[in-house]
């Protein structure tokens, strides 16, 4: 007879051993992700170093109000994610479901604002290519900024979409009674991924929106 709550997998000595192993596995994955986003950010830093004035002018065309709101939205979602893991640890599965739903909702709100920004930028002609239009800076260098901007925020948005799907999966596991205080590592590991995506945004926000903001009005 199988109970609905998964038991200890046979390769582990204890639930604690099982939990720590899954956390370590997630950190290995996040290490690879760090190098991925870190490489992109390093490329951006190099380009910016080469064309500071043009990058500052281009950066002033990003939507700082929407960007700041989105930073707050994502940090709030991280708080709810941390509270979701906390509820899972204590076996309060109804609260866990509520916090998972709130986290997913804020993640979706972030995406909605992000895509609204993309819409405004498309309308303003800030998409690199033949229709690119921006005064007051070398067009090629300003386009390079927006190549970096759309690539990095786009890949970040993709990670967030995956994260929202992941939380939906966790919600289903919880509803299926497969999350118990002893066996909540799926939720903990999902939380690590969500917080990581938040950290990537913590660095993208100043790099893309804030640097050069003081340097005039583009």
């Amino acid at each position: 007879m199988r109970s609905s709550a998964p038991a200890l997998a046979e390769q582990f000595d204890s639930f604690e051993h099982q939990r720590e192993s899954s956390v370590l596995g997630m950190w290995v994955f996040l290490g690879a992700e760090m190098i991925f986003f870190g490489g992109a950010i390093l490329g951006f830093v190099e380009f910016r170093h080469a064309y500071v004035a043009d990058f500052n002018a281009a950066s002033n065309h990003t939507k700082i109000v929407l960007g700041t709101v989105n930073t707050a939205v994502l940090l709030t979602s991280s708080l709810f994610m941390a509270l979701a893991v906390h509820a899972a640890q204590e076996g309060k599965n109804r609260r866990l479901l509520g916090f998972l739903a709130a986290t997913m909702l804020l993640g979706t709100a972030f995406l909605a604002v992000k895509f609204a920004e993309y819409y405004l930028e498309v309308v303003e002609g800030l998409v690199p290519g033949p229709r690119f239009r921006m005064d007051g800076a070398d067009s090629r260098h300003a386009q390079l900024f927006f190549v970096c901007y759309f690539t990095m925020t786009g890949v970040h948005a993709l990670h967030l979409i995956i994260g929202i799907a992941l939380l939906g999966f966790l919600g289903l596991r919880t509803l299926g009674g497969k999350v118990t205080p002893q066996n909540h590592n799926v939720v903990e590991v999902g939380g690590l991924y969500w917080h990581f995506v938040d950290i990537v945004w913590i660095f993208l926000f100043p790099l893309l929106y804030l640097l050069g903001r003081h340097a005039g009005h583009g």
């Binding site: 204890s14 604690e16 939990r19 720590e20 956390v23 370590l24 950190w27 290995v28 996040l30 290490g31 690879a32 992700e33 760090m34 190098i35 870190g38 490489g39 390093l42 830093v45 190099e46 170093h49 700082i64 700041t68 930073t71 707050a72 940090l75 709030t76 991280s78 708080l79 994610m81 941390a82 509270l83 893991v85 906390h86 640890q89 903990e188 939380g191 690590l192 917080h195 990581f196 938040d198 950290i199 913590i202 660095f203 926000f205 100043p206 790099l207 929106y209 804030l210 640097l211 050069g212 903001r213 003081h214 340097a215």
Partner: protein, 102 residues
């Protein structure tokens, strides 16, 4: 063995600190702190990341092995940034001696 964990109160306190840092960094972006603007913005971002990693991601309460695994990514990221920027950021120092553009 009981797993050590943070309290709701700590999570909320960290959240308040994070939001304060967002307000601070956005406000400071409008001031001309040249040549320190970029440094200040990145230090604040780093502080936010450390708070998230230590508390929301539970590394503060993790075993030493967790610290090693979490630190490994930063270690290699550090090598990547340090060696690359060592080259890129110092090229202009040489151009007076080499003549011509770097």
């Amino acid at each position: 063995m009981d797993e050590p964990k943070a309290s709701v109160r700590i999570y909320v306190a960290i959240y308040v600190a994070l939001m304060a840092l967002v307000a601070l960094t956005t406000g400071l972006a409008y001031l001309d702190l040249a040549p320190w603007s970029a440094t200040v913005a990145m230090v604040i971002a780093g502080a936010k990341a450390v708070l998230v990693i230590l508390y929301f991601m539970h590394v503060r309460y993790g075993t030493r092995l967790t610290w090693v695994f979490a630190g490994a990514g930063f270690y290699f990221l550090g090598i990547l940034f340090f060696l690359t920027l060592n080259d890129v950021l110092t090229r202009s120092w040489l151009s007076p001696f080499l003549g011509g553009t770097p």
